[in-house]
Symmetry: C2
Subunit: 425 residues, 2 copies
């Protein structure tokens, strides 16, 4: 094979192929997302992965804009592969704002693209589960979104031993910074510093805060805030009547009613970049914090900004397929996931094909996955193939089975058998 | 709202948004595809919608190549949105030909893009269900693929009253043309003419055949062939030992074993363009033939051509989401399809929120879709909202329900009620 031939056999750089074994994992993740969202009353929506570049430029952050795959169609329209679903959600809601019923609970499973120059094997596309509750001010929106995500994790076998949800509030942070006399216009620098904590040394963080305009006193105050470990410490600084504190308290209380408070913890360091979040923010990590965030989200107030719609507050969550697959793999939970192969059905002679087809149809009507052999073959070859192909059961029909009107269905793992009547016999 | 704002609210031209009602239809179609494929033993695969332009140029027909959405990434790679899944399938199989087990039965649900200049409201993207059986010479591959597609139709409520599968064989056609003395090198012109029958007048078809190099006698012979109405008429011309005839006969026999022969008919006019099909070809149409083909497919021999793999014969089928949705809509079968909204759960006072959350979790663990109200509200407002939002059931928890430890779950359509114990009471 020439080098040209070999390179044409590969998916484009950063894009993934899903062979059946990989697809089974993907389907398990998608299925958990879909089930959890449906059970929690979210309605599914979708839109084309191709969006207008204009929309994405209006709604996407500057960092993202540099990573957009954009192109022109043959009429010269500026199009792009969406880097995230939120601009599309905003567009769809703004277009029908008068006709939709609010608060609205929607979800999507959306492929998103970002061009990143990286050597770490990071992908340029992923699927992201998006949950949004739009036009609900109360913290019950945060509680429902988090509970739904925890439900999906639980369906995948991930519980409080494996992952934790780190919760903070940008409003609480702002209140704390206000209380320390740090001017609003340099809050952003502290948010950035929080994002860097643990990645940079304290000295480096100090230096960057000072260069952002914080006084020595401000920097000390910022460090005291950044080192808060519990919500109760924040209460002592703010007083228990402070709205941002009460919201977080209320959220933790709701999570306890859902019995998922064991997974949740206050974490002052969660700020979710400098994006559009305005209130409570959260991120889920594996317990060892070895991987990137499993999911993240928070409260936004400006979803429909720049789109001409009336302002609406809401809570959104994004949960990608890559990190969760890494976590499932690292914790050995992918082993049980393989394509559904219920029953292999073979036959000895062409003469038994009609009976075999009728039997296959009977099993299929019961909802079972049946792989009917495409040709007649010897029993030994058939069972050898069925064994190595991962079928749960196998049955082989010869002249005797047709005569007797029944076939033995063998469970391949434990070699037990059961007899099943052939239809029409 | 400015014109700019309005235009940014629309999906790009030819691309579709799926609001929850439309998504429910889409999910019903995808679910039928997925279930039918799984029941018939096909394994799911997928790949990124972005492919290398090089691959698509090697594998796609010239007509398609003009319609490809192509672009360069920021490293100057030539990429494209796939116009069809087959080149990707060929690439994935060729890349692992040694490791895969054949015959292979795979399916995908793939979004595909074609840029078409058209005023007929035709979309520029659609989802296509692809079924392929690769490396199987026998006509049992055609039978399994067709039976699987019929099974999906049946799950959607479409049977032999609504649709028919038109089956032909390009090999049989070639044999018939050979038998009439029409040289191989102008068979293509007759295939094209068959594609045009009914769209052009006979005189126009005659003229185009003559200009393609057929003699007057050839044209008459071609018309005799193009007017064959039954497979038996073909047998009379070819003799019953002719391989291409026997294959079709065998296929119809297998379809009768699957009890789907009532939907299948021989149709000499089906040729499936000038693409890569080499043997049996088929297309499904609505009975009135008002719509484009519901699905189409056939036998190919050159799947891995130009990719360096060893040649493999197979059968493929493509089944798009647009025509089937039109057919379901035209036959009133979309009426029952709406998003799943099992149960709305409301509560009178904030004090009943914890009990309501526990009740919601109990119903959700039973697999039900539960929309828990985000705020307390009056019973009247809650039931009014639940009624107009299309929920099957609704339940409302006040202080009395918490005290009694049970809640009445109302079926909204017939106003019947049942009592359900609240958890932990």
């Amino acid at each position: 094979m020439s080098d040209d031939d070999k390179s044409v056999l590969r998916a484009p750089r950063g894009m993934r192929d899903f062979y059946p074994d990989e697809m089974a994992v993907q389907n398990a993740i998608f299925s958990a997302w879909q089930s959890a969202a449906c059970r929690h009353g979210f309605l599914q929506y979708d839109a084309c992965v191709v969006e207008s570049l204009d929309l994405l430029k209006r709604k996407a952050g500057e960092e993202i804009e540099k990573q957009i795959y954009s192109f022109q169609d043959k009429s010269g329209r500026d199009l792009a592969l969406r880097p995230e679903m939120t601009p599309t959600l905003a567009r769809m809601i703004a277009a029908k704002q008068g006709a939709l019923s609010f608060p609205l609970k929607w979800f999507a499973i959306a492929q998103c693209f970002r061009y990143e120059r990286t050597t770490r094997g990071r992908k340029r596309e992923h699927y992201q589960w998006n949950l949004d509750i739009v036009d609900e001010q109360s913290v019950s929106a945060e509680a429902e979104v988090i509970a739904t995500a925890v439900s999906a994790l639980s369906m995948l076998g991930i519980g409080s031993d494996d992952a934790a949800i780190h919760i903070n509030s940008r409003a609480l942070l702002a209140d704390l910074l206000d209380g320390s006399g740090i001017p609003r216009k340099i809050h952003g620098a502290v948010f950035l510093a929080l994002d860097k904590l643990g990645k940079l040394t304290d000295a480096e963080v100090s230096a960057s805060l000072e260069s952002a305009g914080l006084s020595k006193e401000n920097v000390e105050a910022a460090f005291r805030i950044m080192r808060l470990e519990t919500l109760d410490e924040a209460r002592k600084l703010l007083g228990e009547e402070t709205e941002s504190y009460r919201e977080l308290l209320s959220l933790f209380s709701m999570l306890s009613h859902y019995k998922i408070d064991a997974m949740a913890r206050f974490d002052i360091s969660v700020v979710r970049g400098l994006g559009y979040y305005t209130g409570i923010v959260f991120e889920a990590f594996d317990k060892a914090k070895r991987l990137r965030a499993i999911f993240g989200g928070g409260r936004y107030d400006n979803l429909l900004q720049d789109l001409g719609g009336k302002p609406m507050s809401g809570v959104g969550l994004g949960f990608g397929d890559v990190v969760i697959a890494e976590l499932l793999s690292a914790s050995g939970r992918l082993n049980g996931i393989s394509p559904t192969r219920d029953l292999a059905l073979g036959y000895m002679e062409e003469a038994q094909r009609p009976a075999s087809m009728a039997a296959a149809e009977q099993f299929r009507r019961q909802g079972r996955s049946v792989d009917l052999a495409l040709r007649n073959q010897k029993a030994k070859a058939f069972f050898s193939w069925a064994n190595k192909s991962g079928f749960v059961e196998a049955a082989f029909i010869g002249p005797e089975e047709v005569l007797a009107g029944e076939v033995r269905v063998k469970t391949l793992e434990d070699r037990t058998e059961r007899s099943v009547a052939l239809p029409g016999c």
